[in-house]
């Protein structure tokens, strides 16, 4: 190898070294601009994506894993087998984030018709119409979109009172497990299509929700 060839090899070596050094520096810089986010999923098949404000969505990983993200607010969506879970995750510098996804956090679909009401036939047998049952689902959905189902305790179902000659509405009250939480329900109706739903916590007797009297049944001046 003559001296000019040696010089060329040397230049190439130095150039390659510079490229490697630049790549190393870029890794360190990218590391410094991001923070670690650890996902702990209950299922290995849970697929997690993230979208930041005014950013494209990115696939982060499946199951439990760690990634590094630039500081900001991200919406995480985890999904598998038709279930999904949403969570807003705020990433700050020098504050590693751990996100835990448990089975109970998953919701099946966001639709009132997907809410399962077990022993709903008991309500039908007491005078509720199918249309009112759909309205009950809608009101529960308005109260909390993540509710998957309510399990009525049939032994607690009882009538309110109704005087046909008065403007008193029909009323049914019952206890029901609502996604494993005990809740008291009072369902009131003035017509055959809509219902007013009141949900309370029987432990503390605190009212959690009142859908209000349906607009169509409010008294009006003729």
């Amino acid at each position: 190898m003559n001296s000019s060839q040696k010089r060329l090899v040397f230049i190439l070596m130095v150039f390659a070294s510079l490229l490697l050094a630049a790549y190393s520096v870029s890794i360190i810089l990218a590391y410094g601009k991001t923070e670690k986010v650890t996902l702990n999923s209950f299922s290995d098949s849970l697929v997690v994506t993230a979208s930041g404000k005014n950013m494209h969505a990115e696939y982060l990983g499946t199951g439990s894993f760690s990634v590094r993200l630039q500081p900001g607010e991200y919406q995480f969506v985890a999904g598998a087998d038709g279930n999904r879970y949403e969570k807003v995750v705020v990433v700050k510098k020098r504050k590693p984030v751990i996100v835990s996804i448990t089975k109970s956090m998953l919701k099946v679909v966001t639709s009132p018709s997907a809410i399962k009401i077990t022993d709903s036939e008991r309500l039908i047998s007491m005078g509720m119409t199918e249309t009112q049952l759909s309205d009950l689902r809608r009101k529960i959905f308005t109260y909390d979109r993540s509710i998957k189902g309510i399990d009525i305790d049939v032994t607690t179902v009882k009538y309110g009172y109704r005087n046909r000659n008065s403007s008193d509405p029909f009323a049914i009250s019952f206890q029901a497990k609502t996604d494993e939480k005990n809740r008291s329900y009072t369902v009131v109706w003035y017509d055959l299509k809509t219902v007013q739903v009141k949900i309370a916590d029987p432990k503390t007797n605190t009212q959690l929700y009142d859908s209000g009297i349906p607009v169509s049944t409010l008294p009006h001046d003729d």
């Binding site: 040696k6 010089r7 090899v9 040397f10 070596m13 130095v14 390659a16 070294s17 510079l18 490697l20 050094a21 790549y23 190393s24 890794i27 360190i28 990218a30 590391y31 991001t34 670690k36 697929v47 994506t49 993230a50 979208s51 930041g52 005014n54 950013m55 494209h56 969505a57 990115e58 696939y59 982060l60 990983g61 499946t62 760690s66 990634v67 590094r68 993200l69 630039q70 607010e73 919406q75 969506v77 999904g79 598998a80 949403e86 807003v88 966001t110 639709s111 009132p112 018709s113 759909s134 809608r138 959905f141 308005t142 979109r145």
Partner: protein, 135 residues
């Protein structure tokens, strides 16, 4: 000269291995900028299942058209695939705590039952678009 070059290259390689070992253990995700709601729409269109996880990207996979309602608190998004013979889909988003979350869709038509919880103007817009059906 070559010996010196070899040492420099070796040191650079070793440095990269060390840097990768320390800083490259966790993948760094850097999402690219996109117009409002695009990321959320893409998340709704992700195809899950097995090894075939795919996050569609606008505009290479689809084009979206967003219409806002109720002081930008609600949005109806029309999604048109770039693949021929694929029907346009619709999504409805609600802004909660400054974040748009999917309320309805993606779908090509929805039950009127599922849209009664939406604001009147959103419901009216969906009706006008002809994407609602009676159960």
């Amino acid at each position: 000269m070559i010996k010196f070059g070899s040492i420099v290259l070796g040191v650079s390689l070793l440095g990269l291995v060390i840097v990768k070992g320390i800083f490259g253990q966790t993948p760094i995700i850097t999402p690219s900028p996109a117009p409002q709601l695009v990321g959320q729409v893409e998340q709704e269109l992700v195809t899950y299942g097995g090894d075939s996880i795919y996050v569609p990207q606008e505009p290479s996979d689809y084009i979206s058209k967003v219409t806002f309602f109720d002081n930008q608190h609600w949005a109806i998004v029309k999604v048109t695939s770039n693949k021929p013979l694929v029907q346009s889909g619709w999504l409805v988003f609600e802004k909660k705590n400054d974040v748009f979350q999917s309320v309805l869709g993606p779908g090509t038509s929805f039950s009127q039952d599922d849209t009664l919880v939406l604001p009147v103007e959103v419901n009216a817009a969906l009706t006008e678009l002809g994407v609602l059906y009676n159960e």
